[in-house]
Symmetry: D2
Subunit: 247 residues, 4 copies
């Protein structure tokens, strides 16, 4: 790795903003294996000029629920309205989650539920509010479940309006059975998973594909609104949907 | 619907090609509920100028396996090499599947296994062969499982290189329990699901988002190759992946 | 239904205990659709003599985490140690969850993470602590996902030691798209889903199969420990596992 | 392992019958990693006296579909009616599947679709035909997905009537990324995964829990029919389901 060749002409993506939400169950300052891998992707983005803001969800008093602001639904506290402002202002969202029993963490589901709470909002084209943004995820565990957690998380993002570029997930898991997790220090001083070329490659491709897609969407002014404006649809526009009476 | 307003300036996507693969278990000429909904999406695309080719997988002798041509692995027959040529030549792939026990059909998994068989191939930028294409899916059943089947199918497409635009799935299911499926004729002459505005809207948004994304990628010459060329990675290029020795 | 025939010889299961955990996101006293269906199963069990205790998880300050008592891990409060005592004392566990974006609720994952926290504990035979108990689930939503949520929840229960009887899930969902949920009052005074014979049947079968299985396991003194004692395995017992050296 | 302690009083289960269906994509005589692990479980059962019959599905001309005999639906050939007779005559069913893209194989889905085809059949108590049997699964891959594949497969079995004992799955996967699979010969002559105590333990517990559960069900004459007879339900029996009119 020390003599890694570099490709010429790295793009400058200094106009882009990204938000990373780490859904570990462990409050700071505990070490989070998921964060350890998220840091790799964040660093690649920052080196390309992207402004990145990151959150560890469990450190914030985010209420459960499916409304944008749960203090209006009877909860005393809710950190989500503030965090969601950053999400709305960002071109890229990266969700990180540990794996428990083969599934994403409860924190991850809570964040997705809160994102989903905004599914009734539309942008100035009448599209769902997350249109024009790119989403991806990072998953770590000690043995099993990266793909399953990724498919669930990426589908949720796609469903609410994010574009999912190719290979939009990266992760690390070890051989089946109990064992160390990503970033754990080993007796020889090395750290688990750091030498996995597979994880390195996926983290790199994830970072760049998210940036390319966000930039592509930005350059295009978002996704064209013909055919997908919720507001226009509700107003009666049908975009050539075949008339069921004549089918 | 008869007086649906139309939006002005429908894009002309006559340069695009799409392939639809219907993974019903029922050979032709049996009625396929899934095909009935796929036809809606296909019609919207054709009206926008897209050239569409469609297959019903069970009508073709597609061998099981994870190689591009299973006749080289001992099978007598394999229709996949021909079908895969159409997939490779198309900008858009739409997979349709019925739901059985809450999961995609065995035919759907077989098609995905065969697509995955090409994951070692790269384009002239060194990217995975499906980079630069847009993918989506259509799911029908009588009662449950659209989202689950969609998350599995879309993840597979994303994993092998497809870009997944927002809301890249459409489907129809009825209330829990046994009941009719999409397109079944009812006593009053109407057909099940045709009046579901939700399904109409999702089918429409799916069609247009796939076309917009395919066009966007075509205009951009595909996804930029900085950071995601498998060939360059294998040649030692690391695209600013942080050196693990210094972390 | 008013003239429903009754079968003779309903078993008396007055020795059994069951615990129901409702993982709705809505705190009391909000109406929970999931609870509305859980009540049916609870009533059938109570009529058969079973002692049932029920919780709505969001009403209790249950900390996130994967340890039995999170107050020992830095959290100020944790209601789980008390609730887990009821779980340990019960023969049957029924988890109820709403569906959000096709998945179980974050509360449901939190409860499963906390159950999993006990996976290192063993009973007096050396088996995992949940051996000898029967588990099931109830899932409600407005349109899609009963089977997906059930497979995730039942697998988690099976993995930690519960026995899953046949047809261990019941649920209600409506036709695809927005719509009312189980138990919502309709204009004509009826309540949504109450007339679904499919849901009635599944709720009934679920209730009785959980009771039969719990009783069967109780009568047998639990699952025989030959071949599944974690303590014995750790002590070197191999129960005829073929010696890999000779394979 | 050579000096593994043995527990006294191994049960004699010579009255039980089991059927193993291996859903690898590779026809015989190719080496199947999944079969290699299934053999461990089969050997433990045979040593306990169980009569085991095994199939590799891809070796048989099993038609796709959801009917018991697809030759009646237009297919020229269908090996399922014969295989299903063995399944019906067996107390235990073990399904083995490789993992492709984080999911079960297309062969596995095909087998489950064919099992599901019998869901309309009932036993002499009026219960679904698979009541009174125990089911489990074995999953192998090179890197990810045992739990996801297990939850899907076990749910399908539970749904059609099988009882799922605790820890009803066993599997092997390696660290994330490309790599050898279970049973592959390594340079030092050892075979991949054979030394995984985790896989050994799960395979052993799976084998014994399936036998214990099948025996328990046999001794009890199956699951009591009060509350779960499909035939009685269809005849109007409601088993104390609360009358919705009075709720």
């Amino acid at each position: 790795m020390t003599d890694a060749k570099e490709a010429p002409n790295a793009p400058d993506y200094s106009g882009l903003k990204a938000v990373f939400i780490n859904c570990t169950l462990k409050p700071s300052p505990s070490f989070s294996h998921t964060e350890c891998l998220m840091d790799v992707v964040q660093k690649i983005m920052e080196d390309a000029g992207v402004t990145v803001q990151s959150y560890r969800s469990v450190d914030h008093a985010i209420a459960p629920g499916v409304y944008p602001d749960m203090t209006k639904e009877g909860f005393d506290e809710d950190a989500w309205p503030d965090i969601s402002k950053t999400v709305m202002a960002s071109d890229i969202l990266v969700i990180g989650t540990p794996i428990w029993l083969g599934e994403v963490s409860s924190e991850c589901r809570k964040i997705i539920e809160r994102l989903y709470a905004h599914s009734g909002e539309t942008n100035d084209k009448g599209q769902y509010i997350f249109y024009g943004k790119a989403g991806g995820c990072i998953v770590t565990g000690n043995e099993d479940g990266v793909k399953h957690c990724a498919m669930s998380t990426l589908y949720s993002l796609s469903h609410i309006g994010y574009t999912i570029p190719p290979q939009a997930d990266a992760g690390w898991i070890g051989e089946i059975g109990p064992g160390p997790s990503y970033g754990d220090k080993q007796d020889d001083g090395s750290r688990v998973g750091f030498d996995s070329e597979f994880t390195q490659r996926n983290a790199t491709f994830l970072a760049w594909n998210l940036m390319h897609m966000a930039n592509l969407l930005n350059q295009a002014g978002g996704i064209p609104e013909y055919g997908n404006s919720r507001d226009a649809w509700d107003d009666g526009v049908r975009y050539n949907h075949p008339n069921p009476e004549y089918r």
